[in-house]
């Protein structure tokens, strides 16, 4: 199946003419790679490497054979361009040697020696740590090939897959001693593995996810480092560059990491929630990883229900203003969080929360309005609302009334009437009072706008009497500021 991918891809892959002139006619071994690991210069030796021999003399130890196999696997092949070499025997052999190593580690009964461990980790580094090629340039007269949703499949997966398989076996295997392996699977190794999570290839990210999870489980000493490194990735993603392919996978790993946190939660972990997880709601690509994010967050609330207030305030802070799709996702997460929220926490944040919900109710995107109205269908949420209806109804009422009068969508209209009915049944008197207040305020609206205008005008006049130090341009500034505040209804 993946051979098909490779075939498809090498057709698409850029045929580079970079090296040495007249690259077209030259033998495949000379064409440079985009996926190679050793930087700008291609190495003519590399693409047709003579693989070292594995079989040795009679008296060889297990270690000798193992090490020779690992050496074979340190040779890299170029998968990007050449067609002739694709089925080359050397390439096939590397894969077989890799698979034999997988078997070897899987079946081993006595521990791997330090030399074997060191060689293995070195081989992982050589094979896995590479710089990803640039993304396909969008637009600019380009053909339709730059389809964003098409996942990218790394042509060198043929080998990478087995290397990952071996890495996973290696990390999980009881014959690899943690004390020895820790010297080689160090922070820098882990940090580079984390860098690989930005890979475009979903298969690679999936492997990395499993590997990282196992590493976190096995190498206890590196746990604080891993948590810090992941935070750094998230900070950067949120506040600097807005692009990372592997956030969903990272969060998936962290979902189970979080569920393993001891109670009561350490300050460090709570900081991770507030400074890393909650801000992850901001990027526009939040849809790519929201289920995983929600899972992590609910894990936190599960451990410490008091955190629900922090989470809800966080959601309100990052609430989308113009993106309706995102808004629906937020409403979904809000409902999940509310399910876990207890009364005291709810009461602390219900005022700003229901101001926001009121906005959603009036959304002209009917799905947003509907999604907000469905909050009342949730038993727990309904219970929270009904026990605080004295506070919530006055906030919500104007939105309900506006929907009832103006909303274009029939279904929104119907559900709005239902919710209104619920409140009516709950507290008829209060509802009528809200209705009266709404009408009064509606009548007064023009008046209060006029009043605001007059106040500012008055201020302007006052301001004009005061001279300003060393500034000649202030009169221009005042004129450019609008005198009447635009109203937002």
């Amino acid at each position: 199946m993946w051979k098909g991918f490779i075939g498809k891809l090498s057709g698409k892959a850029p045929k580079s003419v970079g090296g040495g002139g007249g690259g077209w006619g030259s033998p495949p071994s000379k064409s440079p790679t985009s996926y190679g690991a050793n930087g700008g210069q291609w190495d003519p030796m590399r693409s047709s490497p003579p693989l070292p021999v594995v079989a040795g003399a009679e008296g060889d130890t297990r270690e000798d054979v193992f090490l020779r196999k690992v050496t074979v696997c340190c040779v890299l092949f170029d998968f990007s361009t050449d067609r002739v070499g694709r089925d080359s025997p050397e390439r096939e052999r590397k894969r077989q040697v890799l698979m034999s190593l997988v078997d070897c580690v899987g079946a081993a009964e006595e521990p791997l020696t330090e030399a074997m461990v060191s060689a293995c980790v070195g081989m992982f580094a050589i094979n896995l740590f590479r710089v990803f090629p640039p993304k396909v340039r969008p637009g600019a007269g380009g053909a339709a090939e730059a389809d964003e949703d098409d996942p990218f499949f790394d042509p060198s997966w043929y080998h990478l897959q087995v290397v990952y398989e071996l890495l996973l076996r290696f990390v999980m295997s009881p014959v690899v001693d943690v004390k020895v392996a820790r010297k080689y699977v160090d922070n820098s190794f882990i940090s580079r593995l984390l860098d690989l999570l930005d890979s475009d290839d979903p298969r690679e990210r999936d492997c990395l996810k499993t590997v990282l999870h196992r590493i976190y489980g096995k190498f206890m000493g590196n746990r604080p480092f891993i948590r810090k490194a992941v935070s750094n990735i998230i900070y950067r993603f949120v506040s600097e560059d807005d692009h990372h392919n592997g956030i969903a996978e990272l969060l998936e790993v962290f979902g189970s990491v979080i569920s393993g946190f001891a109670k009561p939660l350490k300050e460090e972990h709570k900081l991770f929630l507030c400074k890393a997880l909650i801000p992850l709601h901001k990027p526009k690509a939040v849809g790519m990883y929201l289920p995983q994010l929600t899972y992590c967050i609910t894990q936190f609330i599960d451990k410490e229900p008091k955190l629900s207030g922090t989470v809800i305030r966080g959601l309100l802070k990052y609430w989308p203003v113009t993106n309706s799709q995102k808004e629906m996702m937020f409403l979904g997460e809000l409902e999940e969080v509310l399910e876990l929220t207890e009364m005291p926490e709810f009461q602390k944040c219900m005022v700003p929360l229901f101001r926001r919900v009121a906005h959603c109710l009036n959304s002209s995107h009917f799905q947003v309005a509907e999604r907000a109205l469905y909050l009342w269908n949730n038993e727990h949420v309904f219970n929270l609302i009904s026990r605080n209806h004295q506070v919530i109804l006055p906030i919500i009422y104007p939105a309900l009334e506006r929907n009832a009068r103006l909303h274009w969508n029939q279904s929104v209209l119907n559900v709005t009437m239902n919710v209104r009915k619920m409140f009516f049944d709950m507290d008829q008197k209060l509802l009528l009072a809200c209705q009266k207040k709404f009408q009064e305020e509606e009548e007064k609206q023009a008046e209060s706008e006029e009043r605001r205008r007059l106040i500012w005008e008055h201020l302007e006049r006052n301001a004009a009497f005061h001279q300003v130090t060393g500034d000649i341009s202030f009169s221009v500034v005042t004129k450019s500021a609008p005198l009447v505040a635009p109203t937002m209804t």
Binding site: G36, G40, P134, P486
Partner: protein, 587 residues
């Protein structure tokens, strides 16, 4: 009706407004902070308003952003430069918040204020802010501090200067990559304020550390700054310190780093002077031109002309030209396109012989490139090549390329070529133009895309300007006027537009005799859109025409239109009539 006769408390107004649920109202009140400040007077602004703002900053980011921006220009309202320091506390708080935009704006405002403050105020107030931020607990504060050192440093005393340099060095080794990145990207600005002696020692060692950072993203920013740094150093120091680093970077395993080098290399050559350029940087540049990664080649190809300009022609021919030849048949269209946009500039560097012998073939092959962008980039620089080899040599290959681009299926390509037509016309001369391009110019008037038709009309005007009214009378006007009978009203509209553009160029007589009758005739069109456009065109013709003509022909027509059943037609007709009257009155 509300009355505001009671005394006003400006701060109370602000507090009230900031409590409002509607973010737009809160935003508006922040945008008018200066009004409140002026109503308060300078002293109360310092004592009441600014402290209030320092404490009330838990609003939404949008409001905070506005506040950070307003405070940056607030010095006049607090009583001038000597009181500027009162503005620092609220901005200090804003530069620690989580949202990047707010922090950046707060830092910008701090810099703006700091740049105006007196030296001893900087020492007393500004530098403590920088130090506090630099030792901030959360990384946001430390990131913000990096952007303030270049303002603080020049006014600092010697011991303080030493301290600031040390702190910056620590920021460059911060635990968080976010902070190291900020320090790396601000290093150039900071270095520019530092004395030569420290530059060579301390700053260079900071730079060395950054270039060896284990995070790709930090190294990348270090490269970005190296050209700026190189320019600050004496040439020999630059050769000793920066050159090895950059040569090393040009072979970095990350294509992003190599890409940065390709972008910076030219500036670095300027900094080191011709000799080291020849010895070290030419080979590095050639490597980048032949890089495996198209992105890197694009960046390198885009600099090829600039680079050649600082080399001797001989070196350029020997080392760079072979690469250029390869790049002209590069597999990436973007590389070819980048090359095409600059290659013309090489002609003056190489001289006539080398240009004809070596450059012309490359140039011609790019002109026939299968991608329109590449061809377009060549054509847009045509005047440059014309200066060197003359148009005769080119016209043969040029024409097919132009014709093809003129009919390209991407309307933006067609638009671009139309915009070059006047330039081409001036280069090619009337004769060539009449034969080959005249028909194309007419054809565009009937393009399917509005922007093209609009550009085509404008193009005709520019041609008329270029070749004069007499030529236009023969080669443009008759063909244009003929098209007024097109069955589709959108095309008729284009013609009206062309007429209103051409009229000022053609002058009163021709307008009156040839153009006006056509416009008047169109006022009988069955489509209202045409009719109100007639009104608009007539309005634009009034200043050109004789008063008598306006009275006799234009006005009656407009009066008729002003009684049209269509409301829009009546509206524009009335507008035009008013304009007529005004012009008559003033003359």
């Amino acid at each position: 009706m509300a009355t505001v006769d009671e005394p006003l408390y400006p701060i109370a107004v602000l507090i009230d407004e900031l409590k409002n649920e509607d973010i737009q109202l809160r935003l508006n009140s922040i945008r008018r902070l200066s009004t409140i400040a002026r109503a308060l007077g300078e002293e109360r602004t310092r004592k009441e308003l600014i402290p209030f703002l320092s404490e009330n900053n838990d609003d939404e980011d949008e409001v905070l952003l506005a506040m950070a921006e307003e405070l940056g220009v607030f010095i006049p309202y607090v009583g001038g430069v000597e009181h500027a320091h009162v503005l620092l506390p609220p901005l200090e708080t804003l530069s620690t918040v989580e949202e990047t935009c707010v922090r950046d704006k707060a830092v910008e405002s701090l810099c703006r204020i700091g740049a105006q403050m007196k030296e001893n105020d900087i020492v007393d107030f500004f530098i403590p802010v920088v130090k506090r931020l630099a030792s901030g607990e959360w990384f946001t504060a430390r990131v913000s501090s990096c952007g303030l050192f270049h303002i603080a440093y020049p006014s600092a005393t010697d011991p303080l200067k030493t301290e600031l340099r040390t702190i910056y060095g620590q920021l460059c080794q911060d635990d968080m990559p976010m902070v190291r990145r900020a320090a790396a990207s601000n290093l150039g600005k900071f270095a520019a304020t530092i004395e030569q002696s420290h530059l060579k020692t301390e700053i260079m060692s900071i730079f060395d550390d950054l270039t060896q950072d284990d995070q790709d993203s930090v190294r990348l920013l270090a490269v970005e700054g190296c050209a700026a740094l190189g320019k600050l150093l004496e040439p020999q120091d630059c050769v000793a310190h920066i050159l090895p680093v950059i040569v090393n970077f040009s072979q970095d395993k990350s294509w992003r780093v190599r890409y940065m080098v390709a972008n910076q290399l030219y500036e670095l050559c300027e900094a080191v002077g011709p000799e080291p350029t020849r010895a070290d940087l030419v080979p590095a540049y050639v490597r980048l031109l032949r890089d495996n990664e198209a992105e890197v080649r694009i960046a390198a190809a885009g600099k090829v002309t600039k680079f050649c300009r600082i080399l001797s022609p001989q070196l350029a021919v020997q080392h760079i030209l072979p690469c250029v030849k390869e790049l002209s048949s590069d597999s990436s269209q973007h590389v070819r396109s980048a090359l095409a946009s600059v290659i013309m500039g090489m002609a003056p560097v190489l001289g006539k012989d080398a240009t004809i012998e070596q450059l012309l073939p490359i140039f011609l092959s790019l002109l026939k490139d299968e991608f329109p962008d590449v061809r377009l980039n060549i054509i847009s620089k045509l005047d440059q090549v014309n200066q060197v080899i003359g148009i005769d040599l080119l016209s043969q290959s040029l024409l097919p390329a132009i014709v093809e681009l003129a009919e390209d299926r991407h309307w933006r390509v067609r638009l671009a070529i139309i915009e070059y037509i006047p330039l081409l016309a001036s280069q090619l001369g009337v004769g060539f133009f009449d034969d080959k391009l005249g028909a194309l110019c007419m054809q565009w008037l009937e393009d399917k895309v509005y922007s093209i038709r609009e550009a085509a009309a404008n193009n005709l005007k520019r041609l008329a300007e270029e070749f004069g009214p007499e030529w236009a009378m023969q080669h443009i006007i008759p063909q244009v006027l003929e098209k007024i009978n097109n069955p589709h009203y959108l095309y008729r509209m284009t013609i009206l537009q062309a007429i209103s553009l051409l009229a000022p160029v053609m002058g009163a007589e021709i307008t009156c005799q040839k153009l006006l009758p056509v416009v008047i005739n169109s006022s009988k069109d069955r489509v209202p859109n045409i009719k109100f456009n007639v009104a608009k065109v007539l309005q634009s013709l009034v200043p050109i025409l004789d008063q008598s003509v306006v009275e006799k022909t234009v006005k009656p027509c407009l009066v008729e239109l002003s009684e049209d059943p269509d409301v829009d037609v009546r509206y524009y007709a009335n507008q035009a009539l008013q304009a007529c009257d005004q012009i008559m009155m003033s003359s």
